[in-house]
């Protein structure tokens, strides 16, 4: 059984204009549609990569899965049980199973807590174990992420380097013994030379401790190194999903093609093709129906603007793209 299942999940925000604009200029209330009609499954022991540019809804998706932001429509199932409508105490209990690793290790650790307290905070807040049990578990997990407990327990975050901080962040997520870990761009603030170490650590721990992982990044080359499956999002819509190598080597959707084509390559001889897409990414405010990539897509026709062809949910592991005009796209176009 799938660990997580998202069924037609939406998250919309309302923007109410001020009184004057409402009354005098008749500005209507507008909607930001951060995530729309998202269907997704997460299997046990897999690493699902989510790729996309800023504003594509990848962070909102994480927040919804982690139980930090409720979807405005649709259902989220965890081990077959519906969890999106949980509230209060039950929601707090549920959060234990889905832990997050955050983007910015300088921001995600409370500057007034010592390392030990940071890691112990989750178990303490939920009273998972007696204080002594928490102590040994914190020591274990710190050791597992490569920080010697005796040396680090009493330190404050500002006394640590970026890499050490991110390890503390990982420890404080894993000490909860979650079944799913969501990593939201955990490397983007770290130096290149130590990124691989964190990536290795995460991959190793996932195998050792049997959690599945959602790894979110805008950097496809990093995703290429950790994910088993890859989901590509654009302005709140899922546009392509499939096994990693297939998506990266043989992308189907025009957006995925452009995205992969735009990734810089550390090779001075390589000459990148000029992507054929135009325009800028918009904000998902009152988006028209249909494919949101259509305005920038060289292949778009009337059908694209009218309806959005969602991903097929019947076979979630299959490589597929949400595009009407897959047949019209030829390989020499990228």
């Amino acid at each position: 059984m799938a660990l997580f299942e998202l069924k037609n999940v939406n998250r919309h925000f309302e923007i109410r204009p001020g009184l004057v604009s409402r009354v005098l200029h008749r500005h209507p209330t507008r909607w930001i549609k951060a995530v729309e009609a998202l269907n997704l499954t997460l299997e046990e022991d897999e690493v699902l990569g989510i790729a996309g540019e800023s504003g594509c809804g990848k962070s909102t998706t994480c927040m919804m899965i982690a139980g930090l932001a409720p979807p405005t429509a649709g259902e989220i199932h965890y081990r077959g049980k519906r969890v999106d409508n949980l509230e209060g105490e039950a929601l707090r209990r549920h959060r234990r199973h889905v832990q997050m690793i955050f983007q910015d290790p300088y921001e995600s650790l409370n500057p007034r807590f010592r390392v030990f307290d940071i890691v112990a905070e989750g178990p303490r807040a939920m009273a998972l174990w007696p204080e002594r049990g928490i102590g040994t578990r914190v020591a274990d997990i710190l050791f597992a992420v490569g920080l010697e407990p005796g040396k680090y327990n009493a330190r404050f975050p500002h006394e640590l380097s970026g890499g050490e901080r991110q390890r503390v962040g990982i420890a404080s997520a894993l000490v909860m013994e979650p079944e799913t870990v969501i990593a939201d761009e955990p490397l983007s603030m770290l130096d290149v030379s130590i990124r691989a170490g964190i990536l290795d650590l995460l991959r190793g721990l996932a195998q050792e401790r049997h959690f599945s992982c959602i790894y979110v990044s805008h950097d496809l080359s990093i995703l290429g190194n950790i994910a088993d499956r890859l989901l590509v999002m654009y302005l709140g819509q899922a546009v392509e999903i499939g096994p990693l190598k297939q998506v990266i080597r043989a992308p189907k959707h025009p957006y995925t093609r452009a995205l992969i084509g735009a990734v810089p390559v550390p090779d001075p001889r390589y000459r990148r093709p000029i992507p054929r897409i135009s325009g800028d990414i918009a904000r998902p405010i009152d988006p028209p129906p249909g494919c949101r990539f259509a305005p920038r897509c060289p292949y778009a026709d009337a059908s694209c603007r009218k309806t959005f062809l969602g991903l097929d949910t019947s076979d979630p592991l299959h490589h597929q793209a949400a595009c009407h005009r897959l047949e019209q796209i030829t390989d020499d176009d990228i």
């Binding site: 204009p17 009184l19 604009s21």
Partner: protein, 328 residues
């Protein structure tokens, strides 16, 4: 921006209404005869009955409240127990005197304080900065009645340079503002109160300006302004000071609230015929209608100045538009 200003205006009116209500409640909670607030026991019987009817003092509380609100709006603020003058007439004269002194003090404070703040930040840790900070903090810690008394004792009593109080020499009642401003006696008398008010409040804009200048000077756009090859003075005034001013305006509201308090003390000390002095005198002599009216008028002054602060802020910061519509 209009949305923002309109909304602040709405809040201002709500605040005004709430302050008036609080005042009503406080006066009704008064132990003893509740009619005391509008009717002096010294009045003759017939007048007392007439007043009772006019103010609805025999009616139930909610009706009294409505009458109270109606009277406020129609400027029926009652008559002084002492002089039997209409409260609104007394206030109309006193209001401008207060505003005059306040404006003088505020101008001195803001111009000098902001200027000093800029220079202090510019020459950070220089002698001016260090002395300015210490002197500013000491001024901030000195209540105005002590500064005022000190000035009176030294400059008036000992050296006799300035008159001890009042607004103009006795027996020379000016007619109109121009006449007043042409009077040398007025200028002699406004100096000490202005310095007293100014000394107490100068530290606030000065130190805030200094601190927010230092904060702004550390930001990236200042570095870029320097890299653009702009003259240091341009960087200081055009880029840093304008942004730092936002910090001062934010806290100006707080300052205004306290400034009215300082005003009361200074007016009493220098016998300045303003609302502050009136407040103290009427409260001391239990002249309730006047005390109530004065309090309301002072509240209106504070609330109005707070509103002006908000407007100034929205003018200075173009980003305000966003937060008003709730997008940012």
């Amino acid at each position: 921006m209009f949305d923002y200003i309109l909304r602040r205006l709405g809040y201002t009116l709500i605040t005004l209404f709430a302050v008036a209500t609080i005042l009503f409640v406080i006066f009704r909670m008064l132990p003893g005869d509740p009619t005391l607030q509008v009717i002096s026991p010294a009045m003759d019987e017939a007048v007392q009955t007439r007043m009772k009817e006019a103010f609805g003092l025999n009616d139930p509380m909610w009706k009294q409240y409505l009458i109270y609100l109606k009277n406020l709006v129609t400027l029926e603020w009652g008559r002084s127990f002492v002089s039997a003058q209409r409260v609104t007439d007394i206030l109309a004269y006193r209001f401008w005197n207060t505003l005059l002194l306040m404006a003088a003090g505020m101008c001195l404070t803001l111009v000098l304080g902001i200027g000093m703040g800029i220079v202090m930040a510019w020459r950070r840790n220089g002698p001016l900065d260090v002395c300015g900070t210490v002197v500013g903090l000491v001024f901030q810690a000195t209540p105005p009645f002590i500064t005022g008394l000190l000035l009176l004792i030294v400059l008036s009593y000992r050296l006799g340079i300035f008159p001890t109080g009042g607004m103009y020499p006795a027996g020379q009642r000016p007619d109109g503002l121009i006449d007043l401003l042409l009077m040398p006696g007025f200028w002699q008398r406004i100096v000490l109160p202005t310095i007293t008010v100014g000394a107490y409040y100068i530290a606030t804009p000065m130190l805030i300006m200094r601190d927010s200048m230092l904060e702004v000077l550390g930001s990236d756009f200042i570095e870029l302004a320097k890299a653009k090859g702009l003259a240091p003075s341009t960087v200081m005034f055009r880029h840093a000071a304008r942004n730092a001013l936002l910090g001062v305006v934010t806290l100006a509201g707080i300052m205004v609230g306290f400034a009215v308090g300082g005003q009361v003390v200074v007016e009493s000390l220098f016998s300045w015929p303003g609302m502050g002095q009136l407040m103290v005198e009427s409260a001391a002599s239990h002249d309730y209608p006047v005390a109530q009216g004065t309090f309301l008028m002072l509240a209106i002054l504070v609330i109005g100045l707070n509103f002006l602060t908000d407007v100034a802020y929205s003018y200075l910061d173009p980003r305000i538009k966003i937060s008003a519509t709730g997008i940012g």
